[in-house]
């Protein structure tokens, strides 16, 4: 199946906002806060995912004068200057996801939401039934939902009908680093929804895998673990940025069709007699 999408614009459009970078990066699991900030800078990402957790300590510790962990992170991430995309990580029911979404909207002062409703612990596969239901509720309540979904075409259609303008199918299970488990399904999604913003979210382990997704015509890549857990997260963030840009440029350039047999690249017309009709 050949993607029929028109060449993407040079900016990434997300719910009416334009962004230069097509790399969305997660903020978890970095060796240190400084490396997190350096990796975000090296990635060139305009958008960073964040989350909500129970606040264990007091707002300000009266003994040490230090902010709580939550406030320290809040101060840190604001230094990045990135637009924040809060998630509902860990939610397993529609009720949990919807209430977490409201808490995120109030705390981060954004209608953007990376909606996760997890259905299975081993693969962290989305519960697509709960996902569609939660998306319907949240879109009706004014959220701008970025659903973390599978590569299922029918689910994608229902998420769009629910009001989502962006879809985020997985490449493979979160944190697995397996890349694109089903390129055919991702290609089919691209072909069936040529005007929808599609972002591969989860499972990317290598820059080449990110480039592969972009070569399929995807609009952007969201990843976290592959950068945060790399030996040198800052260098890896830069590598992913280059790969995503390369893949996007390649898609716009129009790739050749693969073929089974050789096709000489050197013109055969006028070849010396000893070359016959073959040659490189």
């Amino acid at each position: 199946m050949t993607p029929e999408k028109a060449p993407p614009s040079e900016t990434l459009n997300l719910y009416g906002s334009e962004f230069t970078s097509r790399f969305l990066i997660g903020s978890a699991q970095y060796p240190s806060p400084a490396i997190l900030l350096d990796a975000i800078a090296a990635s060139g990402a305009d958008i960073v995912t964040v989350s909500l957790r129970r606040e264990a300590g007091k707002g300000v510790d009266k003994d040490t004068g230090k902010d709580s962990a939550g406030q320290q992170f809040w101060s840190l991430i604001q230094q990045s200057g990135a637009r924040l995309l809060p998630n509902t990580a860990g939610c397993k029911t529609v009720k949990e996801a919807v209430n977490t979404a409201h808490m995120a909207r109030e705390l981060f002062a954004t209608p953007w939401l990376k909606l996760e409703v997890i259905g299975e612990d081993d693969t962290l596969q989305p519960d697509v039934f709960g996902l569609v239901e939660a998306a319907r509720i949240l879109c009706a309540e004014g959220f701008q939902v970025f659903p973390y979904t599978t590569d299922d075409l029918v689910v994608a259609d229902k998420l769009l009908a629910a009001g989502c303008e962006v879809l985020m199918p997985w490449g493979s299970p979160i944190g697995s680093g397996r890349g694109l488990n089903n390129p055919f399904a991702l290609k089919a999604l691209r072909a069936h929804f040529p005007d929808t913003t599609l972002i591969v979210d989860a499972g990317i382990g290598l820059p080449s895998q990110a480039a592969q997704a972009m070569e399929l015509g995807y609009d952007a890549i969201l990843l976290n673990t592959a950068v945060a857990k790399a030996g040198d997260p800052v260098a890896m963030a830069s590598a992913f940025a280059q790969a995503i840009e390369a893949g996007h440029t390649a898609f716009n350039a129009g790739a050749i069709e693969a073929r089974d047999m050789a096709c000489p690249s050197t013109p055969v017309l006028g070849s010396p007699f000893w070359h016959g009709t073959g040659g490189a």
Partner: protein, 65 residues
């Protein structure tokens, strides 16, 4: 009154959610709250009474993927 705060048991004398949040040292706009799994907006905390055995969640920004 005994309540559950972020999964742990807590004795409190405060009658509403806003008072509890303040007593814990949180600035009102730096945390988000829920009671018994339902979101409570910042503007509604003062009108939200605490009840014996209720489960309070106080959440803050954290890293995420």
């Amino acid at each position: 009154m005994k309540i559950h705060l972020n999964g742990a048991s807590l004795d409190t004398e405060h009658n509403d959610l806003a008072a509890l949040v303040a007593a814990l040292g949180h600035e009102a706009d730096k945390v988000a709250t829920a009671i018994d799994g339902l979101f409570v907006a910042r503007s509604d905390r003062a009108q939200t009474p605490l009840r014996e055995g209720c489960a309070i969640e106080i959440l803050a920004p954290m890293e995420g993927g």
